[in-house]
């Protein structure tokens, strides 16, 4: 049985199908039609709702925000993700006839035209508003990167979001939040909650036993990719085993010189930790899908899916990361660059799952970059992704680790380049030429909807050139980017 608060109503789901999306549940089962379907693939944001979760610490103090608020795309969320959480829909925001400050700001700024995307925007801004932090234009753009509007050109929406998030907060609201947190904490999550269609293991042993019992069941964590098989390819997903509540899979920690990230951690969960240790990944992480997707999608899912264009795999390959695989009885460690075996294939055996991803931290003489080329800056899939991790000792290359997306059937690296460049004096232009020469024939990418093979190869060469320029710039920096970091 799945239990959650739907707005302020405690809701129990017993026998629904495992592949019922939250969007369809809201619209068809409980007639909350304020939440819209625009694409049913997590790309437009019309279906955005907000999830409130009780803060990890359990008993919250008076000053701490007792709930954390996250915008998600209800079209790619299964009900399995909602256990012990509050779902807030657009219908909940109004108090009597009084509009919520976010809603009022949208009205006042002329930020609605056709209005179909509006509830999604309202909810994304509401999630930002609930952070109780001052915001600037860049924060708003990040928060709304997953919401498309075809009418307004966004300018009034940006203005409305800034106005709303500067409005005076209602203090009574904190008391309400504590009450909701208490209600949520009262909902138990354990394996006995499992239904006919859905298993909710809490321990690795339970997980292993469910997998053994239901060998055809699929593992689900963030569901942002898996849900598309249902909403787009119309495949029924009869039985799902959720990884979201298994002990340890949502833990992220630093031990010695390694970052260990549980596979069910969402990209949103780990963003701050990753940027603390790898600040140069700022752009690639912010361009990884959108905020609502990052609030659901997990690092483990991005890797297990083995997409040749998933942006985290090239980055982690260049970082020399490993994955720890578990089957409930034993674990093994596989270097990520050896993990991907063919198109959408990995070394995972039947009965195994990714427990965590281990990332060695950088030393001061290591330079890390990750470049992404796509038609649109925000929420687009890479035509080419390139991650480079260069170690210099007094200007001489002692090691280069590479990672590439969009140029082969799997996330890839370039051993020839890694070998060739070692021992060279980095500031010499021969490094540019040698790298370009290798990269021009290192891969045989394909033509597809995102780019031609020819362009992809050209980008490998030119991004390598960009990397050389940027790492050699020092005093005489030349502009190499059209979009500056905020």
């Amino acid at each position: 049985m799945i239990q959650f608060l739907l707005n302020d109503q405690l809701t129990s789901i017993d026998s629904e199908r495992a592949d019922l999306t939250l969007l369809n549940y809201l619209r068809d089962n409980v007639a909350l039609t304020g939440t819209k379907e625009g694409c049913a693939s997590g790309d437009c944001g019309a279906c955005t709702v907000v999830i409130a979760e009780a803060s990890q610490s359990g008993q919250s103090s008076d000053t701490e925000n007792p709930l954390s608020y996250k915008a998600i795309n209800s079209c790619v969320t299964f009900l399995s993700a909602l256990q012990g959480k509050q779902v807030i829909t657009v219908e909940q925001l109004q108090t009597g006839k009084a509009l919520h400050p976010v809603q009022q700001a949208m009205v006042d700024a002329n930020a609605t035209q056709c209005g179909f995307c509006t509830p999604g925007f309202v909810m994304s801004i509401f999630a930002l508003y609930q952070q109780n932090e001052p915001v600037n234009r860049a924060d708003v753009i990040t928060a709304l990167s997953g919401n498309l509007c075809r009418c307004t050109g966004y300018k009034p929406i940006i203005a409305a979001a800034i106005t709303a998030c500067h409005a005076e907060r209602d203090l009574a609201d904190m008391q309400q939040r504590r009450e909701v947190a208490n209600q949520l904490n009262a909902i138990n999550i354990n394996a006995e909650n499992s239904t006919d269609n859905l298993c909710l293991p809490r321990t690795r042993q339970q997980l292993a036993s469910f997998i053994k019992q239901y060998p055809n069941a699929l593992l689900v964590a963030g569901s942002t990719d898996l849900a598309l098989e249902h909403t787009q390819q119309l495949k029924p997903l009869k039985k799902l085993i959720s990884l979201s509540y298994v002990d340890g899979l949502k833990r992220a920690s630093q031990q010695n010189n390694t970052l260990s990230i549980g596979s069910a951690c969402t990209l949103g969960d780990i963003q701050a930790l990753m940027l603390e240790h790898f600040p140069s990944l700022h752009e690639i992480i912010e361009r990884f899908a959108s905020v609502p997707i990052r609030n659901q999608a997990t690092l483990g899912g991005n890797i297990a899916g083995a997409s040749p264009i998933g942006d985290m795999a090239p980055v982690l390959i260049a970082l020399n990361a490993s994955v720890i695989l578990d089957n409930g009885a034993s674990t093994r460690t596989v270097v990520l660059r050896e993990f991907f075996t063919a198109y959408r294939q990995t070394q995972l055996s039947q009965g195994e799952w990714i427990h965590s991803i281990e990332i060695p931290l950088l030393k001061p003489n290591q330079h890390l970059v990750a470049y992404k080329i796509s038609k649109r800056f925000e929420d687009d899939i890479s035509a080419v992704c390139m991650a480079l991790n260069l170690t210099l000792d007094q200007g001489v290359v002692t090691r280069l680790s590479t990672g590439f997306g969009g140029v082969a059937a799997t996330p890839a690296f370039c051993a020839d380049l890694e070998q060739e460049i070692v021992g060279k004096i980095w500031k010499k232009s021969e490094c540019v030429d040698a790298g370009k020469q290798i990269l021009t024939s290192a891969f045989t990418p394909i033509d597809d909807v995102r780019a031609t093979a020819e362009y992809r190869i050209q980008m490998l060469e030119n991004l390598w050139h960009r990397f050389w320029l940027e790492t050699n710039a020092q005093d005489n920096a030349i502009a190499t980017r059209v979009i500056q970091d905020a």
């Binding site: 619209r27 304020g34 379907e37 625009g38 609605t112 056709c114 509007c149 966004y154 502009a479 979009i483």
Partner: protein
């Protein structure tokens, strides 16, 4: 009885201080939209026994249907009914103007993804699953997939057309310099966030009620009646609001209503047909891709004396609205420039693609960009700044005032707008600093461009320039207004409400604008061609005047005065020293048996165009504007960023500044998407592969330029339009051409501004890199 003086009405419209305040009133549905209460078709509570339809589509682009095996579809769980073209009792062809658009494929397959059959099932998911289970045996035939192939095969949906003036051949021969150019212009997916949807609810016997998300309810009514083989008076269509239209629901909405109605009639149950997004993108027409060329003659200063322009629209498999769309491309190939000797040819190519259709600008953008392409070409050839060449060639007393289609330009605003914008945007200082920047920046190059817009307002099909309205005043003084236009987010109903409130001198709260219904106002035109407010606003005003006339006569009579002195303002009626509150007036009039309801009508004056000779006046007036865009381009990757945009645009006397500015900003960004990120890709089989939101990218929030200054030129329309306002839906879309020109300007810096870069659209990073390679090869 004497008629109310026109001037009384006019003054109420123009000088009432309350109406000024109303000019910023928010969208009439804004509160409902932000609270989730605004109801779209898919949100209407399901009628009892609602069933769901889905369509099955072809997987080849061209061929003949040998056999359709639907046995597995019938056996799929929950299936109630399955239909093909053979099951249509009335017309199979639902082409809007010309024949060629079967409601379901009729023996022949004309594009990849063409709907072949439809299935009705208990749930939407059951219908969608069943729709994948047919085996369609098709004998494939050779498909024509590009404009070049279609030209080679002389494959046209409609005959070619020409406009000309002067002696273009002689003009080009006598020109000091000539230059040629070509441009490949991408199409555009509408990507209304609310997809296509219709719900048919059967009524008594054979009558049918349709809810649809359509810009053209009257056409839906007509086509539903025709496929069902019943009279138009048996069909009622209701349209409250669309979640975006942009032209994509002008003709493209009818097919889904027809299929839903066919099932509803067969099974006697309510039927909803809502297309999944990917299917919506595959089966509905788009903005026409064009392959255009020009030859231009000019002197050392860049003054153009002659031009030949050829526009080739890829129309897809059927005429749809392509005749008028290619005509509109031709009507705008001059933009704001006088072409003394010119010839404009327009071809309508038939390909095995979905039938391309109306989209904001309606061909105008694909024509207008050719004028700007010519200017850029001339500027690089003469070494002048493109802005100088633009100003040199504007319509005016010195150059000339006749368009290639023989319309005399009156009240041209382009020179004034350009001069003002040139100053307010600080064009020349920025030009100097950009030139400096580019000298010292080897990788990132900046570009700047100012481009004008002149867009003709009126349907070029004359009969469409008419509108009707129906206004009711109820006994509590509240008013209901109905008209033939549809609300798709553009704020039409808000403006109509303001007009009604202004006419009666009452507050906006008294006015309710209701859903568009074919049983309230018949035989309406589509809400298209930017004409919604111009046409329906005047029709509504006309109805209001009729009611006011009766009330004025009644009131004047009751106080023994003449109706000339009667005024409606501040929620009351006055006649000299006599006054009465609006509500009391209405109640007294009711008891005195005065009719409180009226219909209104309007037809646009002055239109006189002869297509045979391609001469005359197709447009009531022109709307003008101009924009300056500044961009940065990464010459290593082809990525770009729009850094700043300044716009000055002409909406006549604005009826609602908030709404008008919203239209300008939104149109600009949509136009920018057309020219930059929105890349339609078909594979070699003719299959659309940019068929979802992961592969087709409209502008996102970060694409909005951080500096985005939008101002209105406050100049009343010289023509007698509603309160002397101007249409605003489409014209600002073409302001985005400045982004394309600015990108070319940045690239031109690579060749010291001596070559005109060949930048095809949409200017994706890959096409920018191709332009750079081309520039380096030809330099």
């Amino acid at each position: 009885m004497r008629k109310l003086k026109e001037q009384t009405i006019q003054s109420a419209g123009k000088t009432d201080s309350k109406s000024m305040a109303r000019r910023s009133s928010p969208h009439e549905s804004a509160v409902r939209q932000v609270t989730g209460n605004a109801r779209y078709v898919d949100d209407i509570p399901a009628p009892a026994n609602l069933m769901h339809a889905a369509i099955g589509i072809s997987s080849v682009a061209s061929g003949n249907i040998k056999h359709i095996d639907l046995s597995q579809v019938w056996e799929s769980p929950g299936v109630i009914d399955v239909i093909t073209a053979d099951d249509v009792p009335g017309h199979i062809d639902i082409g809007p103007v010309f024949k060629g658009d079967p409601v379901l494929a009729d023996k022949e397959i004309k594009f990849h993804g063409q709907p072949v059959f439809a299935v009705l099932a208990k749930t939407l998911e059951m219908a969608k699953v069943a729709a994948t289970l047919a085996t369609i045996d098709i004998e494939k035939t050779a498909a024509i997939l590009t404009v070049a192939e279609a030209k080679e095969a002389q494959s046209f949906v409609r005959p070619s057309h020409q406009m000309s003036q002067g002696n273009p051949a002689l003009g080009l021969r006598e020109a000091k310099h000539t230059a040629k150019g070509t441009l490949s212009i991408g199409g555009q997916e509408h990507l209304y966030i609310e997809g296509q949807v219709s719900m048919a609810v059967p009524q008594e016997e054979d009558r049918m009620f349709i809810y649809t998300s359509s810009q053209h309810p009257s056409e839906v009514q007509k086509l539903v009646a025709e496929v069902l083989d019943i009279k138009l008076n048996k069909v009622v269509v209701d349209m409250r609001r669309m979640g975006g239209g942009f032209g994509g629901k002008e003709t493209q909405a009818a097919q889904w209503a027809c299929i839903a109605a066919l099932f509803a009639a067969r099974k006697g149950c309510a039927v909803k047909l809502r297309l999944p997004r990917q299917q919506d993108m595959i089966v509905t027409g788009k903005r026409h891709p064009f392959e255009n060329s020009f030859e231009v003659g000019f002197d050392d200063n860049g003054k153009i004396n002659a031009a030949k322009i050829e526009v080739n629209g890829n129309c897809g498999h059927s005429p749809d609205l392509s005749d008028a769309i290619v005509d509109r491309a031709m009507f705008h190939a001059d933009n704001t420039y006088f072409l003394e000797h010119c010839q404009i040819d327009g071809h309508r190519l038939k390909t095995h693609q979905v039938s391309h259709t109306a989209y904001r600008g309606f061909g105008g953008p694909q024509g207008m960009i050719m004028a700007e392409a010519m200017i850029d070409k001339v500027a690089r050839a003469t070494g002048k700044d493109p802005l100088e060449v633009r100003k040199l060639n504007l319509y005016g007393e010195n150059n000339g005032l006749t368009t290639p289609y023989g319309m005399h330009i009156e009240n041209d605003l382009s020179a004034e707008i350009i001069t003002k914008l040139e100053q307010s945007s600080d064009y020349w200082a920025r030009r100097a600093s950009i030139t400096e920047f580019n000298k010292s920046s080897p990788i990132i190059k900046k570009g700047l461009a100012l481009t004008p817009v002149k867009f003709g307002i009126s349907f070029t099909a004359k009969h469409l320039n008419q509108a009707g309205a129906l206004v009711h005043v109820y006994t509590d003084g509240s008013i209901q207004a109905n008209h033939g236009g549809t609300e798709m987010g553009q704020g039409l109903h808000t403006k109509i409400g303001q007009i009604v409130a202004n006419e009666f001198g009452v507050s906006l709260d008294e006015v309710e604008v209701t859903s568009t219904r074919t049983d309230k106002v018949p035989n309406t035109s589509p809400t298209a061609a930017s004409s919604g407010t111009d046409l329906n606003g005047k029709a509504v005003q006309n109805a209001c005047i009729a009611i006011k006339q009766r009330l004025a006569d009644f009131f004047a009579d009751s106080v023994n005065a003449g109706p000339d002195l009667v005024q409606f303002h501040d929620n009351k009626i006055t006649c000299g020293k006599h006054e009465l509150s609006w509500e009391s007036l209405v109640q007294k009039a009711y008891f005195a048996r005065v009719s409180l309801s009226a219909s209104g009508f309007y037809k646009t004056p002055k239109l006189a165009y002869d297509r045979e000779t391609a001469k005359g006046r197709p447009f009531f007036y022109f709307a003008y504007g101009a924009s300056v865009s500044e961009v940065s381009i990464d010459t290593l990757t082809g990525e770009h960023k729009v850094d700043r945009v300044d716009i000055l645009h002409d909406v006549g006397t604005s009826l609602n500044e908030g709404i008008d500015i919203g239209q300008i900003e939104g149109a600009f960004i949509q136009g920018m998407g057309w020219l930059t990120t929105e890349d339609l890709v078909w594979d070699k089989e003719g299959r659309l592969i940019s068929n979802n939101l992961a592969t087709y990218k409209i502008p996102a929030i970060g694409d909005t330029p951080e500096v985005f200054n939008v101002n209105l030129l406050k100049r009343p329309n010289a023509e007698d339009s509603i309160y002397h306002s101007k249409a605003v839906g489409e014209p600002p879309f073409m302001l985005a051409i400045s982004v394309w020109c600015a990108m070319k300007d940045a690239l031109a810096s690579l060749a010291d501004y001596k070559c005109d870069p060949q930048l095809e659209t949409p200017a994706t990073p890959e096409r920018v890199m191709a332009a750079i390679s081309h520039l380096r090869r030809t330099q």
